[in-house]
């Protein structure tokens, strides 16, 4: 699966773009988060790897801006294991172990599409990884 962040500019926000792409490519697109209204917005989706390139192209043709998914990292050196981040995570990617240490599941994490926890870390140990996206280089 390839995770990408789709950004819908205001001028195309009213169009049924996602439905069109799904029908044109017959792809089982998995929408993880969506915040789109008339002013535009963002959607985090998962695309089966085999179809990723074509699907991304279809979105691009329709004016959607594609951003590679950038995961989040917790620096264990900096982390004081307070858990301020825990209650902010909408997908339970941050949990506590039995001994109250922080357990971070990067697979589950929505990365730069969410980042609710990043500015809540008192130790500034949570960061969005700057370089990722081995696919989608263009």
């Amino acid at each position: 699966m390839v995770r990408v962040l789709l950004r819908f500019p205001e001028k195309i926000a009213g169009k049924p773009i996602t439905a069109e792409v799904i029908m044109a490519q017959k792809v089982s697109l998995n929408i993880l988060t969506a915040h789109v209204n008339q002013q535009g917005g963002e959607m985090l989706v998962e695309i089966p790897s085999a179809e990723a390139e074509k699907v991304i192209e279809e979105f691009r043709k329709r004016g959607v801006i594609i951003e590679p998914h950038r995961p989040i990292k917790i620096d264990s050196e900096e982390c004081i294991e307070c858990g301020a981040c825990y209650s902010l995570c909408p997908v339970d990617a941050i949990t506590f172990k039995e001994d109250h240490s922080i357990n971070f599941n990067q697979e589950k994490c929505l990365g730069n599409a969410c980042k609710l926890c990043v500015d809540a870390c008192p130790a500034r140990a949570i960061k969005v990884v700057e370089h990722s996206g081995e696919h989608l280089r263009r």
């Binding site: 004081i80 294991e81 307070c82 858990g83 301020a84 981040c85 825990y86 209650s87 902010l88 995570c89 949990t95 506590f96 001994d99 109250h100 240490s101 609710l116 500015d119 809540a120 008192p122 130790a123 500034r124």
Partner: protein, 502 residues
């Protein structure tokens, strides 16, 4: 035969001999549960507690030594953080919440203290007015902790017995000293270590008093009195403490930044509780499920924020609590892992003869509570300025709404349902636009996402909302979204103009 009481001297003798029986307070609770209070009391001499949390009323006094020619520092900065000049020439106080002038909200006094403890070099800048005895007027130098005569942590309020659980009813994200609070009860936060906390286990301050030796930031320190806002009557006791920063380790003391609130210092404190009598053994067996605190709505920006219920530390530590029938995730802001590590470390130090107990020379006050601030000039709240709103229903025609606007000479009509609950707002400008475009139905122009206020909100806060959203009125609603009235920018302009008489 076992005596009914033990003394601190006897315990210290045992520490010296190496046969003291010391366990963490968590282990003690287990022993009491499995073997009973009597056995536990008989076998255990000392229990250790611990807490590691953001303690804003913290800071460090440093003495930098005299320069040549000497300076009587008037104002000074370390790494661009202003450090208060509190006494004679070269004593400075690094306050944990004082923020850097170049990196505010990210770096502050707490970080300066941590950097110095880590052995890092910091930059000092100071100015003075110059006197006959202290002629020098400027000083710029670098410092490490080894350059300082004294580097003493001096915290005037630490170690809260317990703290509240914070949540947010409002419709926006709040950034508070209780962390980031998501809108509409999206999450909650709490502070304090519950059953591991020092004062919770000695609620009558029998052993924790002035002169009690403590573990602080990895070093040894002392309780020097009750903390400011000490409120034992309501179960919110606090401590004033000191410790030698030069002997501290960054593992147990760390600068921190709370977004849009400011900087602070996480302080690790561990206090041994000698089991001098069986009553104390019983007190230290208190469990998380017996320690309660209030769920408080930080969405209401007032001193007496509404309480939404009570919750135990057991529920809080489970990660989920129920607020208004909704399950909400709850974050600890104190590190329970570090609190436990502190209790473990202190236990080890006592067992190895590295830490001796001290008897308090004076008890902490038990029957005091906190007074609110005296305010000579009262602030103005929305309730003082609001007035009845002109309303209409969702099914009204634009023409009728236009008539209401003229009739009442207002600019805003609030749309309500048959129960008086807020559905939207229409302005005279919306009506003008509708006429220009030939629209007929109110539905087509009504603004449904309405920014609102409540009677108890500060006028300043309401006014800030209007500015942020570039609007000129806010409907005033109650908890059930029923419209109570409206406040407009004209109302606010009137008080600035001085015509308001309250």
């Amino acid at each position: 035969m076992f005596k009914l009481k033990r003394t601190i001297e006897e315990i210290n003798e045992k520490i010296k001999r190496g046969d003291v029986q010391v366990v963490t307070v968590e282990e003690m609770k287990e022993i009491v549960e499995s073997s009973g209070l009597e056995v536990a009391y008989k076998e255990i001499d000392v229990v250790t507690t611990g807490t590691f949390g953001a303690m804003c009323s913290s800071g460090a006094v440093i003495n930098i030594g005299h320069t040549d020619p000497p300076i009587k520092i008037h104002r000074a900065w370390i790494n661009d953080v202003e450090v208060a000049h509190t006494g004679a020439a070269v004593d400075l106080y690094i306050g944990a919440t004082q923020m850097s002038e170049t990196k505010p909200f990210e770096y502050g006094g707490g970080h300066v203290i941590e950097d110095l403890i880590r052995g890092k070099e910091v930059e000092l800048r100071a100015i003075a007015y110059g006197t006959d005895c202290y002629p020098r007027t400027r000083l710029e130098t670098t410092l490490t902790k080894d350059d300082l005569n004294q580097f003493i942590l001096l915290n005037f309020r630490n170690c809260y017995q317990r703290y509240v659980c914070a949540t947010n009813s409002s419709d926006r994200i709040l950034y508070t000293y209780m962390g980031k609070l998501l809108p509409r009860f999206g999450n909650a936060t709490f502070s304090g270590a519950g059953e591991l906390n020092p004062l919770v286990n000695d609620p009558d301050y029998e052993t924790i008093g002035v002169g009690t030796r403590i573990f602080i930031g990895g070093a040894q320190g002392y309780v020097i009195g009750e903390g400011t806002q000490h409120d034992p009557v309501n179960g919110f006791g606090t401590l004033m403490v000191r410790g030698d920063c030069k002997k501290m380790t960054p593992e147990f003391i760390q600068g921190a930044a709370f977004t849009k609130y400011g900087t602070t210092l996480y302080v690790g404190i561990g206090i041994p509780i000698p089991l001098l009598n069986e009553g104390l053994a019983k007190k230290v067996s208190i469990r998380d499920e017996e320690i309660f605190t209030d769920i408080v709505d930080y969405g209401v920006p007032r001193r007496d924020r509404p309480k939404l219920g009570r919750v135990s530390y057991k529920e809080l530590k489970s990660g989920k609590i129920v607020i208004n029938d909704k399950t909400v995730k709850v974050s600890p802001l104190s590190s329970l892992k570090k609190a436990r590590k502190i209790a473990e470390t202190l236990k080890k130090q006592i067992a190895e003869g590295l830490f001796y107990l001290s008897a308090p020379v004076e008890r902490l006050p038990l029957n005091v509570s906190v007074k609110p601030a005296k305010q000579t000039r009262d602030l103005i709240y929305v309730e003082a300025l609001m007035h009845p709103a002109v309303t209409c229903s969702e099914n009204d025609e634009i023409e009728n709404v236009a008539k209401k606007i003229i009739e009442h000479s207002v600019n805003h009509v609030v749309v309500v349902d048959d129960k008086g609950k807020l559905k939207g707002i229409v302005t005279s400008w919306d009506i003008t636009k509708a006429v220009a475009k030939g629209l007929k139905r109110l539905e087509e122009i009504v603004v449904k996402r309405v920014i609102t206020t409540t009677p108890g909100e500060l006028v300043e806060v309401a006014s800030r909302k209007m500015m942020e959203h570039n609007i000129s009125a806010l409907p005033v609603i109650d908890r059930d979204k029923r419209v109570l009235g409206i406040i407009t920018s004209e109302d606010i302009a009137r008080i600035v103009g001085g015509k308001w008489r309250g």
